[in-house]
């Protein structure tokens, strides 16, 4: 087991209301997304990111570029001045997805799921490799930044326009979006007054309003309540029945099982398994459960300390008893003498 493995954060949530649910089987169409040997490397300016990210299992290296002498002179204090690291988050991923498929992506924290989703949504430029799509992919993330100072109403307009709708189209869909988000009159208040669930619901409603060809969802359903989950599930089915494709990143394996037909398992930036939902989900669950009893280094050290302390106490007690016995024996010997 590598150092990185020990640091992985395991998360196997099971939502009771998802139990027993199955994703709708739909007719599969022609390929709509081809990912070819995708590598994503992002630049981290400032050196301290290195250790933290390495713990997460990402492969990081210092950027080595040929620099002219005067630049090297300027970069003399490299570690603190001008420290740049690169995080190789996705390392050579290839797959094909067809119209109507619903694909879940699983993996431990830091395995590159979200970065890959961004790259295949065209939001993070890859270092090498390519992504080919039909139509316009639309990514929905929990931290999709709308403007917190402005009202929900204004944000619906901004979000809709950003997705390529016309102002008139946004106005037409306004009521539908508000109803779907279930925020009622809160839509006229600034978004910073919303609870995190309300914000996430509104963002989901906005991004699915444009009826995208490829809908990508990153952990956004985790903040919604059961009723919202039901609504978003039917929205996902709607996208799929219109020959659209859905990608879902979630830590809740039951949500994936309930909503997806196919699962990609990522580990340290690479694809390790790809197949029908139950096959991969079962293998992934087995993997995660196997990790669970194994403990993190902190807990292990704490346990070691506890054991050492017990051992020391026992030894001390033994030594004391020995001393006492010795003393008594001496006394006895003296008395005897």
């Amino acid at each position: 087991m590598t150092e990185a493995d020990e640091h992985m954060d395991f998360d196997l949530e099971v939502e009771p209301e998802d139990e027993g649910e199955e994703a709708l089987e739909t007719e599969l169409g022609t390929p709509c997304l081809v990912v070819d040997d995708l590598h994503v490397v992002y630049r981290v300016i400032g050196g301290r990111a290195k250790k933290e990210a390495e713990k997460q299992g990402a492969e990081i290296r210092e950027v080595k570029v040929k620099v002219p002498f005067y630049k090297r002179l300027l970069q003399a204090g490299r570690r603190h001045v001008g420290a740049v690291s690169e995080v190789h988050a996705v390392r050579g991923v290839s797959f094909t997805v067809r119209h109507g498929e619903s694909v879940g992506i699983v993996g431990v924290n830091g395995s590159g799921k979200s970065t890959m989703l961004r790259a295949i949504a065209g939001l993070m430029p890859p270092k090498s490799g390519s992504v080919h799509v039909s139509g316009e992919p639309s990514l929905l993330g929990v931290n999709a930044a709308l403007m917190p100072m402005l009202t929900g109403e204004r944000n619906i307009m901004i979000g809709g326009l950003a997705l390529g709708l016309t102002p008139k189209q946004v106005e037409e869909r306004f009521d539908e979006v508000v109803e779907f988000a279930g925020i009622g009159d809160f839509v006229y208040l600034p978004m910073k007054t919303y609870s995190s669930g309300m914000g996430a619901r509104l963002r989901f409603a906005i991004s699915s309003a444009a009826s995208p060809d490829i809908l990508m969802i990153d952990e956004a359903l985790a903040t919604g309540d059961a009723a919202f989950k039901e609504r978003s599930k039917s929205r996902i089915e709607e996208v799929r029945s219109n020959a659209g494709t859905v990608f879902l990143v979630s830590h809740s394996i039951s949500t994936i099982e309930a909503m997806c037909t196919r699962v990609l398992w990522m580990h340290q930036g690479q694809l390790v398994m790809d197949g029908p939902v139950h096959e991969v989900a079962d293998a992934y669950k087995k993997f995660v459960r196997a990790q669970r009893p194994g403990m993190g280094p902190a807990r292990r050290r704490a346990l070691q300390r506890k054991r050492a302390a017990e051992e020391a106490a026992r030894k001390k007690a033994e030594a004391d008893a020995q001393k006492k016995a010795d003393a008594e024996a001496k006394k006895a010997a003296e008395a005897h003498a």
Binding site: M1, D5, T26, E27, L28, P31, C32, L33, V34, D36, R43, I45, G92, S94, F95, T96, R98, E101, R118, G122, L123, M124, P125, P126, S130, V131, H132, S134, E136, P137, L139, G141, N143, A144, A145, M147, L150, M157, I158, G159, L161, A162, L163, G164, T166, P167, P190, R262, H267, V272, M273, G275, V277, E279, A283, K286, F287, A290, Q291, G294
Partner: protein, 331 residues
């Protein structure tokens, strides 16, 4: 058929039998890279993360004009929303700003500027220069400060610098009203030349529009360079201060060049550069429109230069920005 596809060469039977603590080994794709690319071509899939051709990019951008406008007005509105006085600050802010400059440079440091109304000179200089300065600093942050937005939504990135400058223009409009008011009122003070509203004032929107186009070009250039080298942002305040003094915002800089101890020929060169560089040209235009000063006569040459600088900076800035399109959001 309804069984999901898989790209695994062999059905993965990982974790079974093997060490359950280890994830299965990385998959070997069943197709080669060439086969996948052929597949993408066969079904007419479009490559992502490829910079669109310039013409297509411009078309895409013009379709998003409503987005640029809404983003700009919303940002301008949001700026003053957290205060009790709310949108009143859009007017109060420029008044306070003008008061400080007039007090320090007009009343306390009574320097001769070769003009009859130095309050009008300073107020116009400061207000119009703030538009340029805010466009440069705002443009610099328009990409680098919005990584989250870039990684969440897909749209032509040129929307961001454009809406930043448009937002500044919306906040400039109340400021211009204040500026004209102060300019007119300053004439009633003893020792300051009276300023009259003339037909020339109708040209003020044209001068501001030229500045807007020029500033958008500047914002494009700054956005691209600061996105790749964030350090530039730290140098900007100093550069902008030098430009401020070199553009005659508070003192007419050309009269100082005359006093330099350098050969006549270099004096002419330095003087020419200082006089005809874009920021100085725009300040000249606004002053010549609003003030009836002898040193700012209406000048066709200056209007032509103003137009040329605006077009030049906008076109160069736009192309520079477009060439980095596929990289924004990576760093």
């Amino acid at each position: 058929m309804s069984t999901p596809t898989t790209d695994a060469a062999a059905p993965a039977k990982a974790a079974a039998g093997g060490d359950a603590k280890k994830p299965p080994p990385p998959l070997v794709p069943s197709t080669t890279s060439a086969e996948r690319l052929a597949l993408a071509k066969k079904y007419g899939l479009r490559p992502l993360n490829v910079r669109p051709p310039l013409g297509e990019y411009i078309r895409d951008l013009t379709r998003r004009w409503a987005f640029i406008r809404v983003l700009a007005t919303s940002t301008a509105y949001a700026k003053n929303q957290n205060n009790y006085l709310g949108q009143l600050w859009a007017v109060l802010n420029p008044i306070l700003n003008a008061a400080v400059y007039v007090l320090i440079f007009g009343v306390l440091l009574k320097l001769s500027r070769g003009v009859d109304n130095s309050i009008a000179f300073i107020v116009i200089g400061v207000f119009m220069y703030r538009f340029v300065e805010a466009s440069v600093t705002g443009g610099a942050k328009s990409i680098s400060g919005k990584t989250q937005l870039l990684r969440s939504l897909h749209f032509p990135r040129a929307v961001l610098p454009m809406s930043t400058v448009l937002s500044l223009l919306t906040t400039l409009i109340p400021a211009i009203v204040v500026m004209c008011g102060i300019t007119l009122l300053s004439g009633f003070l003893p020792g300051y030349e009276m300023i009259h509203v003339t037909w020339w004032w109708l040209l003020l929107p044209a001068a501001v529009a030229l500045m807007w186009v020029f500033n958008t070009g500047l914002a494009f250039i700054m956005a691209r360079f600061v996105a790749s080298t964030p350090d530039i942002e730290n140098v900007l305040p100093f550069v902008m201060r030098v430009v401020m003094y070199a553009s005659g915002v508070i003192f007419p800089v050309v009269s100082y060049v005359e006093r330099l101890v350098i050969p006549e020929t270099s004096k002419a060169v330095v003087g020419g550069i200082l006089e005809y560089q874009p920021v100085a040209v725009y300040l000249y235009l606004v002053r010549s429109v609003l003030m009836q000063e002898e040193i700012f006569p209406p000048s066709g040459l200056m209007w032509a230069l103003g137009g040329a600088w605006a077009v030049l900076f906008f076109v160069i800035g736009f192309v520079v920005f477009w060439r980095g399109e596929e990289r924004y959001g990576r760093d």
